[in-house]
């Protein structure tokens, strides 16, 4: 790996005039609650440009809420969240593309029209939008399925279309909410390799929510382990081989196994 690969998690030197890089994410002392129910407390996080951050934690710890906060779909009760230099919810929304837990492909659109949804929303004509998406369909092994209806696609293909839909929006930050949770184990491993390859060729800033520690350590540069509700950050780990081309080798390597054990320990500690 190149020394200055996107996988590098070192805190980057601040750019001139003290401005953060355009696509970095910074959370400072973020609290959130639903009425009386405290969901997140004292969250401090930082994602450098083109870095991939994983959020793992027990069910109901607020990790999906945290993702919605970052995306600007919700406002925190206290603290600040900035994406790029923008900290208002509206501006964050404009900078984030969200991939939900379920693929949520719209059944009344073909695969390619689903993928190109963001372009259409941004005002592009149907023909142009399709043309723009066609190239990505080929690159991501979906060629030939442009006109297919979502229910004609396999689970893995649906997730790929959903990811393309997120990617095509052209946003600096991708927010992925348990993107592969609904897939079987083999398809999930394949999709992880596929996503790793996609991010190697087209590096993006990513925040990935998952309950799968192995998935987080394989796909991300850094992994934040959240505690049970109210969610706080128990620990932050550095992944040994983020997005390595050979997944099987990477996840069985001693360093990886040690990191996984450490993450599991932190999870158990946070669940108490």
């Amino acid at each position: 790996m190149k020394p200055e690969s996107p996988g590098s998690h070192a805190v980057e030197a601040p750019p001139p005039k003290g401005q953060a890089p355009a696509d970095a994410v910074v959370l400072r002392a973020v609290d959130h609650s639903y009425g009386e129910l405290e969901t997140l407390t004292a969250i401090d996080l930082q994602v450098p440009a083109h870095g991939v951050l994983g959020l793992v934690g027990p069910s109901g710890c607020g990790k999906s809420t945290l993702l919605e906060l970052i995306c600007g779909l919700q406002e925190p009760g206290a603290g600040t969240i900035s994406v790029g230099n923008a900290s208002s919810a509206e501006e964050r929304l404009a900078r984030c593309a969200f991939m939900p837990q379920r693929d949520l492909l719209l059944p009344w659109y073909s695969a390619i029209d689903n993928a190109a949804l963001a372009l259409r929303n941004q005002g592009m004509g149907r023909r142009e939008a399709r043309a723009a998406a066609t190239g990505l369909f080929e690159r991501f092994g979906l060629a030939g399925f442009e006109a297919a209806r979502p229910d004609e696609l396999s689970g893995g293909m649906r997730q790929r279309v959903a990811f393309l839909r997120t990617l095509i929006a052209g946003k600096p930050l991708l927010a992925l909410d348990e993107p592969f949770a609904a897939l079987d184990a083999i398809t999930r491993a394949e999709m992880q390799e596929w996503l790793a390859a996609a991010l190697r060729t087209d590096p993006r800033t990513v925040v990935l929510v998952t309950h799968d520690v192995e998935e987080a350590l394989y796909l991300c540069d850094r992994v934040a382990v959240l505690s049970a509700r109210p969610g706080r950050i128990v620990t932050e780990l550095t992944a040994p081989h983020p997005r390595a081309p050979d997944r099987d080798a990477a996840v069985t390597d001693a360093e990886f196994v040690a990191a996984r054990e450490e993450a599991m320990r932190a999870l158990r500690e946070g669940s108490r």
Binding site: E68, C71, L73, L93, A94, C96, A97, F98, P100, Q101, R102, L104, L106, P107, W108, L117, A118, R120, N121, Q122, R149, D151, R165, A169, K171, A175
Partner: protein
């Protein structure tokens, strides 16, 4: 096959029983009536054929009322549903009124409409629209509310304006429900039409049925009912066909 054979078989059985009971005079005797007041299916069929041009003329009048009434209900109902979905305040304010509109007995409102609007097609359309409005509006609102909130969040992060969210997610998601509402409307519309015509009209199947009462033309009354039912069946069939063409993803 089964889908068609079973109901057709049952209808044939019922008609056969009716034919036997009527032609032997069993029903008339049991009710102490003259035989001609209890026509058999065969007699109704021949009345249907003999009066075909009269029935067709009147059926066209009623059909036109029904179609225009449903159209009005569809425009107003779907429009209301969209506005009520968009503004919660409007929904809270008007929902009780919409339910109340459904509890107004048509028998009561029809004569008033007659006084206000006369014997023309106007009051008929209003009555039909009134009975169709409720199923269409309520189903359209339910359809709009059935949209997965996660899909709306997704669309927001994909730069969709409120209008785009409506046309690309909410409206298509509500279509199946809207069609359910239309199907119910299509079936209740003939009832509204007959009521409206009874109160005051110079033509239409409802008018024909009523004027035949005075002359004991029971066979022709049944013939008119057959035409009315057939009309409702054809309309519901056409609606189902349209639904299959429009809602291709189900």
């Amino acid at each position: 096959m089964r889908r068609w054979l079973l109901p057709l078989g049952l209808i044939a059985l019922l008609l056969g029983a009716w034919q036997v009971a009527a032609s032997t005079g069993a029903i008339a005797d049991a009710l102490s009536l003259e035989d001609f007041l209890v026509p058999s299916p065969a007699e109704i069929a021949s009345s249907l054929w003999e009066n075909r041009s009269l029935l067709a003329e009147n059926a066209w009048v009623t059909l036109r009322e029904i179609l225009l009434g449903i159209l009005c209900a569809l425009v107003v109902g779907a429009g209301m549903a969209v506005l009520m979905h968009r503004w919660q305040v409007l929904r809270d304010a008007t929902y009780p009124l919409i339910v109340a509109s459904q509890t107004i007995p048509i028998v009561v409102i029809s004569p008033i409409l007659l006084v206000w609007f006369g014997y023309g097609i106007g009051p008929k359309i209003i009555v039909i629209a009134l009975v169709c409005f409720f199923p269409i509006t309520v189903n359209a609102i339910d359809g709009l509310r059935s949209v997965d909130p996660a899909a709306i969040k997704l669309m927001r992060t994909l730069d969709a304006s409120r209008w785009q969210r409506f046309w690309r997610v909410e409206a298509p998601a509500a279509l199946p429900s809207l069609f359910t509402g239309i199907k119910i409307a299509v079936v209740v519309a003939p009832i509204g039409a007959v009521f409206a015509e009874w109160v005051g009209s110079s033509s239409g199947l409802g008018h024909l049925i009523q004027s035949d009462t005075a002359y004991y033309q029971v066979d022709r009354q049944f013939a008119a009912v057959v035409v009315l039912s057939a009309m409702a069946l054809v309309l519901i069939g056409l609606t189902a066909l349209a639904e299959r063409r429009v809602v291709t993803w189900r």
